[in-house]
Structures are given as structure tokens and as C-alpha cells.
Amino acid sequence: MGTIFDIAFLMATLRAATPLIIAALGGIFAERSGVINLALEGKMLTGAFAAVVVSYYTSNPWLGVLAAVLTAAGMAFIYAVASIKYRANQVVSGVAINMLAAGLTVFLVQVFFGTAGMSPAVTRLPNLGPFTPIVYLAPLLVGMSFLILYRTPWGLRIRAVGEHPKAAATVGISVINVRYACVVISGMLAGLAGAHLSIGTLSVFVRDMTAGRGFVALAAMIFGKWHPLGALGAALLFGFSEALQMRLQGGGIPSQLIQAVPYIFTMIVLAGFVGRATAPAALGEPFRNE
């Protein structure tokens, strides 16, 4: 066992946990304001793709990160218009965003690079010590999210909007504006998480490279009870299982089974250990100004 759990393994865990942490924070912002966030996956994928395109053309991975954040925010804005303004079913429109992202990125890979499903190699983010800067940024974002949600007037309003939007409206808070802002922030965070996948750990875009991490991040958010610190813990746990999966490969166990480890792990955790997860009371309910 000593050979498995070494420093390299720990670093792999942190690397794998980073996108989960950041995307989970995105989930928290949206859901704390009362908007279901099934579209994390699609927004991550969009971000991963935009980062590669911009890094390819500018050779500047930082511009790539910026592009990832903005593009995913744009995607989130579309979702916000559908689910907040037009009160579309949030589950359906979230799934639609995921399908749109999956299809559109494959199509655009073809348009931009003339290849099927995979981009050429691009300039990736430089390492600062053992990690890219995004890995260090993740815990900072956790701290910031915690402070915003629990120590500022704005955070109080976000949580009020997610729990009892009518009460918020009667004291003059614009439920609609708060929700728009939160959904767009969730897009920015998901985009950043996507950039970490494509130009942080790798240096290419591969079709469907998020491979369900958006949903694992969602699971981390629920397991962490919609709290940034809880989500951090949960994301580290899931990152651990992903690192374990990578470590176990080539050990004689069928690879399909090993690849399934993080997902099986996620299901067991969600089914068995969440306990009474209390979602924001108004989660998924569109708000209508009367």
C-alpha cells in the first residue's frame, strides 16, 4: 500500500479535485439562489474548448483562461434567460445546455482545426511549483465564496432568494437580478474549471473531455450540503477516487472497471452518507413578479 499512497498520489488527488472544487462552487452559487444547476457539465466543456481555441491562436494560455470564463458565462446567460426569464423547466433546459455544449464543441473543433473530436496541442498554463496556478486558486475561491455567502449583505440576499423568494421580494430585493448574477457567476466558475482540464492538466481539447465531472461536482455540492467548505471536502474525496483510478490502471484489473471507480464511489457516497441534505427551499421554482 505504501507504494500507492505517496506524494505523487497526493498531488494527483489535488489536481483531480481542482475542477470539481471550482465547478461545485459554481453549483453552490446558482442553487443557493434557487436555480438548479444541471448545466455545469456543459459549461465546463464549453470553457475547456474556448480555452484551447484562444490559446491556440494567441499562444497565451492566460487569454485562454479568460476566454473560458467569458464563454461559459455566456452559455450560463442563455440558461439564465431560459430558466429565469422564461421560467422554462430548469432540469430540461440544463440538460439542453449540456447537449448543446457537447454537440457544438465537436462541430467547432472541426471548423477551427479541421480534425474530428480532438484539437492539436496548444500552449498550456505554466506550472508554479508542482501545479498550475488554478490549483492554488481553488482554495482561495472556496474562502471567497464562503465569505461572500455568509459574511456579506449580498450573500444574505442570495440565500434569502433561494429559500423564500417572495420574502426577499417584499423587502425590495430583485429576485430576478440576484438569480441572473448567480447563474452567470456559476458559469464563470464552471468555465475556469473547464480551462483547468484542457490547458491545465492537458494541452488539448478532446470531445466530451469533462466525462461527467460536472455531475460529480454537482454531487460534491450536494454531499457538501451546498456549503463551500463542505463542497471542498467532498470534492477532495472525489478527487481522491479519481487519482486512485489512475493509479490502479495497468494493475491487471479490467480497465473499464477501474474507470468506473470514481462514479461508483460517487453513487455510494450520495446514497449512503449524505444524510439529511437540505437543499434551498425554493430550489427549482421559477419566480414570477406579481
Binding site: R151, T152, P153, L156, A160, E163, K166, A168, G172, I173
Partner: protein, 517 residues
């Protein structure tokens, strides 16, 4: 004296209804103005206009003589208007302090200054004598205290005009007393209060003036000391209210319902009904009195096929129906008005039409060859709406949007249209306004006069006594005694409801059997 608030010629139209029809009200500094009206009279619409939640189609609002436009709650608050909503606008997992400052938070730099918030809350709560703990979370507080938090919330925002929308609906008698004291204290400190209610006795207890509304119109405004509950009731309903139900003696016929030694138990084996026996004959109303939770619910459930009887028997018109299913019971002409109409009586998000046929939906003329017959259903609905005076824009309206009284009329129409041999009515007037109560009582008596049997269950002693021919008292699942309602006193009933059998206090030498009459 100049009014602090005036609403002049306010009209507001919704699809199918004129919710406010040229309404004028005025409120003077330091007074309590009661606005009274039945459900659906337009009180809440008017207040929502005042609070900027709706815009009036016509009319104007004046504050201290100045015309103002109130486009949203923010502007209402800025004009010193505060509203305590009937359904509390409190975020349950938040603390008292967080709820009070929400939307107008004290800050230190970028962050919320929670200590300052707590201090501000203590300050306001001291000044007005409304004690609360700023650190307590809302969900751990009783409703009376939650309401205090709501009042503090608007005082914190500097409200001068306080609107209380049906504030007593959720309170127990002790809490109501406390609320009155709070209201008096507030007016003595110069606040002006609008008090919305549909209960007559509350008006006379607390207000200086009363504005009566009916169907979107103001019927009149009177000084409380110059009026009487009867006058207000007339204004509210638009005709003489029969506070006493008119009932003539009838001939009783054959036994319709015979219940013998009925027992039902919960999962732990505890008896919820314990050897319950009684009979109801045609042309008779049997009332069941008792403190809620003494087996009334279970009795109705067993009789209507919603719960199993463990032993004993139920006969309807001489045929056994013990443990029949709900449909089988219904097909033997038993109507059921359930105690919780939102849970068991209606599908609130279905149309009035659909709610009018549930339970009969599989039979002609509502269904043919297994398909619903839209035309038959619609025609039936229109007839019912007419006959039972259901106030709805049309039969395809979503039931939820109707008032409580009209919800109940939909159920009554559905359950009575087949002229059931036995009508089981459980708390038929719970939460409905006077006009509807009167209508419901008349229908029940008419049903009995037509030679049918009625089982009436109600925790309201006065309702049971005024409607029933005989009264049974239930206590811990047992029938304590059955007597003629004309011969029994409220005191006797009170003792029996507390579990004391008549033979234990009967002054006569000879003890009469419990079920002897």
C-alpha cells in the same frame, strides 16, 4: 385632521373579475382601521396595490395629502408603508436579526455588520416592547413570535402605516390578546394601523373605524362604537344573515346507517375507535361533537373506505358495507365532504370542471366507452356552478384560484349532486366565510328535509348543536353518549367531551343506558 393615507377611486381588473371597484379608504394618524369582508371581497387586492405589488387600473394614493405612485415594495417602504403578510415572509433557516435587516443591512466595509444588526434589532424591539431574541432562528420560534418578527421587520424600516393582513388567522387566543396589546402600543406611539380580517368579533375588539368590503366594493365605513356585529354582517353579505339555522321538525324514516361495535387500531395496536355504535335514520342529522383528534377523523375514514375496521360492522340501508372500498361506498350513494379539502377534497391545480366529477368520472354522462366526455362534463359543471352558486369566472378555471368558500362549494356540489342517501360532512364550514357557511348549512338541512341521513362532524359546538337532531360525543375513540340536541346543554356536552360519562353525573336515580335514546 388630515388622513395619513388615502386611497381614492381605486379600480383593479383581473381576467374575469373586478377585484377593486372604485374603492375609497382613508386612514388617520394613530388609529386602527379595520377592513372587513368575506374571502374574495377584494381586501388583499387593495393592500397589494398599496404595497406596490399590483398597479391599479384607475385611482390614486395620497400620503399626508400628497399624491404618490407606488410601483414596487421598495417605494412603499420608502413612503413608510409596512405590511405583515398573512403568510409570513420570513426565511426559516435565518436568524431573527438576519430576517429583520434583510434588504437593508448594516455594513462594515463590504461585509454584513451582524453585531450592529443585532443591536438595531434589540433597540427597535425595546422601543416598541416586542421581545424577541435576535440570535434565534425563525424555525425554532412559535408563530406568535414569528409574527412579532414580521412587525419588527417593518418597524426597523421606519414604517408609519402598518398593514396587518388577517393577522389572527394563525394565532391562538392568548397570542391574539398579545397582538391586540402590541397594536394598541403601536398606535399610542403614533403608528397607524390597517387591520384586515373577516372575523366580526375582532373588529369590535380593537378598531376605531370599520370599512366593509364586498365583491370589490366598499359597502360603507362606520365608527366601531356606533355599529354592531349584526349590522356589519349585513353589510358584508348584503342581506340579513341567519345567525340561527332555521330547521323544522321532520318525520324520521328507516335506519340508513347502522354502525355496530366498530373498532380500528393504529399500527401499534392502540384503539383509535373503541366499540363505536350508533344509527342514523332517514330525515335526521346526527352530529358528532368532540375535541379534535378523539377519533373523528378515523371514524369518517372507516365509513368512507379509507381505513380498515378491525372489528364491528357498518350497514347501509340494511346491507353490510364494512370495509368496502371508497368507490364501493360511493356507489352505494354515500357523499363525503372531507375535513381537509385541500388534501383530500380537491386537486387544486385541476379545473373546476374536473373537480366536480372526481369519483364519478368513470360513469356516464362523464365517460363513454372509457373516454371522458368533455361535453357532458362541461354541461354538468355549468349546472353545478349555477345551482351551488360557485363564484368562478368559468368552469375551466383552475380551482386553486377560487376562495376557500368556493372550494368548499365545489366539493359540496360534487358530493351532493347524486343526492346521497347518507351525507358525511366533516367540518364543512372550516375556514370559509359567513356567506358560504350559511349556504352550506342551508344545503345540509335541506338534504335532511328531503329525507336523507346526514352525519355531521365538527369541533364547533355551536355548529353541531344548531344543525343536528341528535348529538353524539366522542372521546378517545369512544362514544360517550348520544342525546337529542334540543334537550342537551352546552355544559353537559362539555363534560362529556372531557371524558365524563352522563351516568357519572346524572342527577336522576335511575341510570339511563349510554346509547339508550
Amino acid at each position: 385632521m388630515q388622513p395619513i393615507l388615502e386611497m381614492r377611486h381605486i379600480s383593479k381588473r383581473f381576467p374575469g373579475v373586478l377585484a377593486s371597484d372604485n374603492v375609497n379608504i382613508s386612514l388617520f394618524p394613530g388609529e386602527i382601521l379595520a377592513i372587513i369582508g368575506e374571502n374574495g371581497a377584494g381586501k388583499s387586492t387593495l393592500m397589494n396595490i398599496l404595497f406596490g405589488l399590483y398597479q391599479p387600473d384607475e385611482g390614486q394614493i395620497f400620503i399626508k395629502g400628497e399624491p404618490v405612485k407606488i410601483l414596487n415594495p421598495n417605494q412603499a417602504i420608502a413612503h413608510g408603508i409596512g405590511m405583515v403578510h398573512q403568510h409570513f415572509m420570513l426565511v426559516s433557516p435565518f436568524t431573527v436579526a438576519e430576517n429583520i435587516v434583510l434588504g437593508a443591512e448594516p455594513r462594515r466595509g463590504l461585509s454584513l455588520d451582524i453585531n450592529k444588526a443585532k443591536k438595531a434589532v434589540s433597540e427597535v424591539s425595546h422601543r416598541y416592547g416586542l421581545r424577541v431574541k435576535p440570535e434565534a432562528t425563525i424555525e425554532e420560534l412559535p408563530v406568535g413570535v414569528q409574527q412579532r418578527v414580521e412587525i419588527l421587520k417593518i418597524l426597523y424600516r421606519g414604517a408609519e402605516i402598518i398593514v396587518l393582513d388577517e393577522p389572527t388567522a394563525v394565532l391562538n387566543p392568548q397570542e391574539i390578546k398579545e397582538l391586540y396589546a402590541i397594536m394598541q402600543n403601536l398606535t399610542s406611539q403614533g403608528k397607524s394601523i390597517i387591520f384586515i380580517t373577516h372575523k366580526l368579533n375582532e373588529v369590535t375588539n380593537i378598531s376605531q373605524r370599520v370599512t366593509v368590503m364586498r365583491r370589490g366594493k366598499v359597502m360603507g365605513t362606520v365608527a366601531t362604537k356606533d355599529t354592531s356585529p349584526a349590522e356589519l354582517a349585513n353589510l358584508m353579505v348584503g342581506r340579513q344573515v341567519l345567525l340561527q339555522v332555521q330547521k323544522n321538525p321532520t318525520e324520521v324514516g328507516n335506519t340508513v346507517l347502522a354502525v355496530k361495535d366498530l373498532v380500528t387500531q393504529d399500527l401499534t395496536g392502540e384503539k383509535l375507535l373503541d366499540r363505536v355504535s350508533f344509527e342514523i335514520r332517514a330525515g335526521e342529522i346526527l352530529g358528532v361533537a368532540g375535541v379534535e383528534g378523539n377519533g373523528q377523523t378515523e371514524l369518517v375514514e372507516v365509513l368512507t373506505g379509507l381505513r380498515r375496521a378491525h372489528s364491528g360492522s357498518v350497514h347501509l340501508n340494511g346491507a353490510e358495507i364494512t370495509n368496502f372500498t371508497a368507490r364501493q361506498v360511493k356507489e352505494r350513494k354515500v357523499g363525503h365532504i372531507p375535513e381537509d379539502r385541500q388534501k383530500r377534497g380537491l386537486e387544486l391545480d385541476f379545473t373546476v370542471q374536473e373537480n366536480l366529477i372526481f369519483g364519478f368520472h368513470y360513469k356516464p354522462p362523464f365517460a363513454k366507452h372509457g373516454l371522458l366526455n368533455k361535453q357532458g362534463i362541461a354541461q354538468h359543471a355549468d349546472r353545478m356552478i349555477e345551482e351551488f352558486d360557485i363564484r368562478t369566472p368559468n368552469s375551466e378555471t383552475i380551482t386553486r384560484s377560487l376562495s376557500g368558500g368556493n372550494h368548499q362549494k365545489v366539493i359540496i356540489a360534487r358530493e351532493m349532486h347524486q343526492e346521497p342517501d347518507l351525507l358525511i360532512a366533516s367540518q364543512p364550514s372550516r375556514g370559509v366565510d359567513i356567506g358560504a357557511i350559511e349556504f352550506i348549512h342551508r344545503r345540509i338541512v335541506a338534504h335532511r328535509d328531503a329525507g336523507k341521513a346526514v352525519l355531521l362532524i365538527s369541533p364547533e359546538l355551536s355548529e353541531v348543536l344548531s344543525l343536528s337532531d341528535r348529538v353524539a360525543v366522542i372521546y378517545e375513540g369512544q362514544i360517550m353518549g348520544i342525546m337529542n340536541s334540543s334537550e342537551v346543554t352546552e355544559e353537559q356536552l362539555g363534560l362529556m367531551m372531557a371524558g365524563i360519562r352522563p351516568e357519572n353525573y346524572h342527577p336522576l336515580e335511575e341510570r339511563s343506558p349510554v346509547h339508550g335514546r
